[in-house]
Amino acid sequence: MTAAPAVAELTYREAVRAALRDALSQDDRVFLMGEDVGRYGGCFAVSMGLLEEFGPERIRDTPLSESGFVGAGIGAALAGMRPIVEIMTVNFSLLALDQILNNAATLLHMSGGQLNVPLVIRMTTGAGRQLAAQHSHSLEGWYAHIPGLRVLAPATIADARGMLAPALDDPDPVLIFEHGSLYNVSDSIPDGTEAVDIASAAVRRPGTDVSIITYGGTLRTVLRAADELERQHVSAEVIDLRVLRPLDDATLVDSVTRTHRAVIVDEGWRSGSLSAEITARLVEQAFYELDAPIERVCAAEVPMPYARHLEQAALPRADSVVAAALRAVGGHA
């Protein structure tokens, strides 16, 4: 299997795999560790073929021991390796949260700057595949509460391809959330190995009437909504956060200062989701620019139900984004 750089059209899955292959080829401190990353080829077939290419020491299957192998990744990073730990899905990361918060995010400060943790943790996130309550969490915004972590949410093929290298260069722990619904999405990207920044948000579609802010799995939904809004003569600017911590306030404030209206779309449960923090920052930094209440389109506050019609009703949809945007532009114009 040969993916990227030469390849024109690439799936999100292939983009992540190509990034992994580059990292493993270029730096022998790098290794991938997690449940079924090797013989199985990765729960979502992301690491398919890497075991054959790099061997079982560097494509390391782990037992079911999330706290154990995430903590081992932290230790290996402290010892000078560059581990990439894959937690099969964010749902299982709760078992490793003590290691992530109390060790990975804390050791540098707690040791007065002595101990860097150059660790990358990848996990699949999100709902939409009828996997029910224990397999459908979107907790990336929740992780963005933790000081000491950098939190990335690649929403495009280019970011899936380009974010791993700078994440590995980062001397501090980086969490990368890959939305499960994106793996089969494909796109052609200029040059696969083109590095991207892991600091800024991106304007995915310029607009003048309303800023729609989102990230990860809901970007495509929002772009669809923007098309529909255009048909209704509303020009929506679509912003992809890309980096959930630290947030790139400047890009958000700049956009809202032009549009004076904001809609935030977040697949997390509404209360306490990242959409709340973004609302707070816009109020703090652009209060007098706002011409209407900030609208939030989030997941319903319910453990995700299995039945398709209920799950769909619980998730942000293009029509609900359109409705929110219309409320924003309609409101107090």
Partner: protein, 344 residues
């Protein structure tokens, strides 16, 4: 109340307790139940391909002897905590095909009103606290069920079913220690099918004798051939009696194998075809059928009747599920919190 008075209370009551020892006469019934599960899951595969069933679906085809052998050993008021691979256990515990299938169809008539799906089958009336989809997540719950019964001085047993992979999780360790430390009435049944998804037993565990591992917590633990329902049923009965009479935990490792992939998503690249073929020769169904016929306990007519009855049950279940209504979308956020009325 002290542990001793509780213990005696339990022993006393356990004598009155109806024991349901499966004798040879039950061989046919055990076979029927395994066949019922096998045919049901074969149908589920069809329905999954037809996209009537979605999400993750984990089959126990090949492991029916474990589901049937363990469940038959339990009394009605015992409790069962299981995993996402629980269709067989749910049926063997007495759930109807229609409630299970309707659940997988996402209908409001499903056991979990369509909110759970294949991985989350529950029936509190049967004390089946089944489907936990976090590996190892059910173990502490089972400890809690057993703790409640011990504190009440009842003689109820909690059966906790989990896989070989779960044994690597910290929750197994904490649960085994709590159960043994507090001498709780819990029977651990480890379905060792030699794989955790694509990870073979010897790459999961430094010590692959899982019964030996359990014994290190100071509980009675042994291994059984999980491909033959008779020894499974016997071991399960002895384990449940032991727990019921002594109050403390025990652990039974059941050596079994899944004939199918881990889930419908799994291309099953990691298993050697010869290994699968080898285990298929130990299919629990034909072997038992053969013995029962040799004993004259089961005739071709009986077998045909079973097949026809099961087929009829499946057909009816599919029709019911197809016809069943969906939960109203307005009720999406119902059951996030209790309607105060619904409080137990």
């Amino acid at each position: 109340m002290t542990a001793t008075t509780k213990r005696s209370a339990r022993t006393k009551r356990s004598r009155e307790h109806p024991q349901r020892t499966p004798g040879p006469a039950d061989g046919c019934e055990l076979y029927r139940q395994m066949l019922r599960i096998r045919r049901f899951e074969e149908k589920c595969v069809e329905l999954y391909s037809a996209e009537k069933i979605r999400g993750f679906m984990h089959l126990c085809i090949g492991e029916e002897a474990v589901a049937v052998g363990v469940m038959q050993a339990l009394a009605d008021d015992d409790a069962v905590v299981a995993t996402y691979r629980e269709h067989g256990q749910a049926l063997a515990r007495g759930m109807s095909m229609s409630t299970v299938l309707a659940e997988m169809f996402g209908r409001v008539t499903g056991c979990s009103r369509g909110r759970g799906g294949s991985m989350h089958l529950f029936d509190s009336s049967l004390r089946f606290y089944g489907g936990n989809a976090i590996v190892g997540g059910g173990l502490p719950l089972a400890v809690g069920f057993a703790l409640a019964e011990k504190m009440r001085g009842s003689n109820r047993v909690t059966a906790c079913v989990f896989g070989d992979g779960a044994v690597a999780e910290g929750e197994f360790h904490e649960s085994a220690n709590l159960a043994a430390l507090w001498q709780l009435p819990i029977a651990f049944f480890c379905e060792n099918n030699r794989y955790a998804m694509g990870t073979a037993l010897e790459r999961e565990h430094a010590q692959t004798d899982l019964a030996l591992r359990a014994a290190s917590y100071g509980m009675v633990a042994w291994s059984v051939d999980g491909m033959d329902v008779m020894p499974v049923a016997d071991a399960a009965r002895r384990a449940v009696e032991l727990v019921r009479d002594n109050g403390g935990p025990c652990f039974v490792e059941l050596h079994t194998y899944r004939f199918r992939a881990h889930s419908m998503y799994d291309p099953d690249r990691y298993r050697d075809k010869a290994e699968i073929a080898q285990w298929r020769t130990r299919d629990p169904l034909p072997a038992l059928a053969h013995r029962l016929r040799a004993d004259g306990a089961l005739s071709d007519a009986d077998l045909n009747r079973m097949e026809t009855e099961i087929e009829a049950e499946i057909t009816a279940a599919v029709e019911e599920a197809e016809a069943a209504p969906l939960e109203a979308v307005e009720d999406l956020t119902r059951f996030v919190y209790s309607d105060r009325g619904a409080q137990p």
